[in-house]
Symmetry: C2
Subunit: 251 residues, 2 copies
DNA sequence: CGCCGAATTGACACGGTTCAATTGAGGTGG
DNA sequence: CCACCTCAATTGAACCGTGTCAATTCGGCG
């Protein structure tokens, strides 16, 4: 068969959400259908725009269907800490995610397309008609907490060298889940400035540490892509372990 | 009236849980009753005991009614990172708290008394008969996430001096909520070792920074107590802000 | 009194920061 | 197709916050 005949069908906005949620819990056809239908209308946000601001009322919950954003806190004196990245398939501002109490903003790092999450949110209520959806959404929330804990270990107890390796492993894991990474390459629209504010380091030191990783043939970041050359080394440097898998795949 | 006539009634185990939950959402008499009754039987854990271990199946959910514990991760090479402290009134291992996926252990730092949380957990289901309870438990979870985010800012972007001030302010806030602190003094059974593993510093540096805070008359830690001498200074040093209060007090 | 874990201190080394300048890469208009 | 602009990446040098090691002191307790 020719290349054209195997070409993937044009992606619908909801597809990435379905991939993400199905990776966490098996979805019925009805549930898949619901997600796809509810994710029809997209909004777009240019880089630098806040999807949510710490000083303002939380907005309606969304799912990110393309692009990268971050959850961050800006201090008055200019220092900034990025808590985590929000990737395609990730929810933004779901009720339980502490958006109501914590002083955090969501900032688009690239062009970000989102869809409204209210329908999915309502359908995923516990004891409702969509137990698979409920389960998947619940697990997504648990995973995101696990990534916050990862972040604490990174900046609390790892060296700069280890921090970068650890973060890259996590990004690789998360992007693989939604089909945005192969074993060698993952897209990465992050500037060294953003990396610094994520890992609690200075831009200069990020630069030097990346240089070292490049020199040693472990990985490199070039033109918006991370090239992983020695995944085994990244793994041993970082000690990264993916969150425990959900053994039983029950709805 | 004499001192004896105003003596507080002997505390029941559930009282601290009630205080904690009522601070987050108003509880009906029936809800208070349920909490108190379900919290009758206590378990005790000596310091150094794991209430939950990252290698093992999660145990049944509990509430801490006295003593301090921490949620931590131990690395193979001996490094350790403490994520957060668990104080009287705090839940341990509730379903949504990511205990299932994240590799974290809960370690008793002092003698810890716990009570079973299963009854409260079941009663606090959304759409059940105890909406106030549901609301309070939900908010407790949101607050605990907010404290994780605080921890990321502390170790990512604050200096050693600021980190300690910030942590002390947070402890003061949390302990006040359950009536374990007055404006001057809060109990603090933490060794400098534990503080170091919490704040991503070395024990020696914790010691020196505490000395500085003491010399400057800001605060001091002595015989298991933190004495806050200049709360205004602690506040300006740390930039600590309590989580946003829940404006509407609806059930 | 004597023990033991925790706190304290000094000297020194190093990881990471800061400041300031230079280079590089992608985009735009002439 | 080149000149130009801009923002990000890169580099060097000096500095400093924090870590490490190793010893000493303190404080509570049997």
């Amino acid at each position: 068969m020719s290349a054209t005949s195997t070409a993937v069908k044009r992606e619908r906005p909801g597809d990435v959400i379905v991939r993400r949620l199905s990776a966490l819990c098996e979805l019925t056809d009805a549930e898949t259908e619901l997600v796809l239908k509810s994710a029809a209308r997209q909004h777009t946000h240019p880089p630098g725009q806040f999807l949510q601001h710490e000083e303002e009322e939380p907005t309606a919950p969304k799912y990110i269907v393309s692009g990268w954003a971050c959850r961050q806190h800006a201090m008055e004196d200019g220092r900034r800490q990025i808590y985590t990245f929000l990737l395609p398939g990730d929810p933004v501002g779901l009720h339980r995610s502490a958006s109501t109490v914590a002083r955090t903003s969501i900032l688009a790092l690239t062009d970000v397309r989102t869809v409204d999450a209210r329908e999915i949110d309502a359908a995923s209520a516990p004891g409702g008609d969509y137990p698979g959806l409920h389960c998947a959404v619940e697990r997504a929330a648990q995973e995101s907490t696990a990534f916050l804990l990862n972040q604490i270990v990174r900046i609390g107890r790892l060296t700069a060298y280890e921090r970068i390796a650890h973060l890259v492993m996590e990004l690789h894991y998360r992007l693989s889940m939604v089909g945005h990474a192969n074993s060698q390459t993952i897209p990465c629209p992050l500037t060294q400035d953003v990396l610094a504010d994520t890992l609690g380091l200075s831009t200069v030191h990020i630069n030097r540490t990346l240089k070292q990783l490049r020199r040693e043939g472990v990985m490199e970041i070039r033109s918006g892509k991370i090239r992983i050359q020695r995944e085994d080394m990244l793994e041993s440097i970082s000690g990264f372990e993916p969150p425990k898998t959900f053994f039983e795949f029950r709805r």
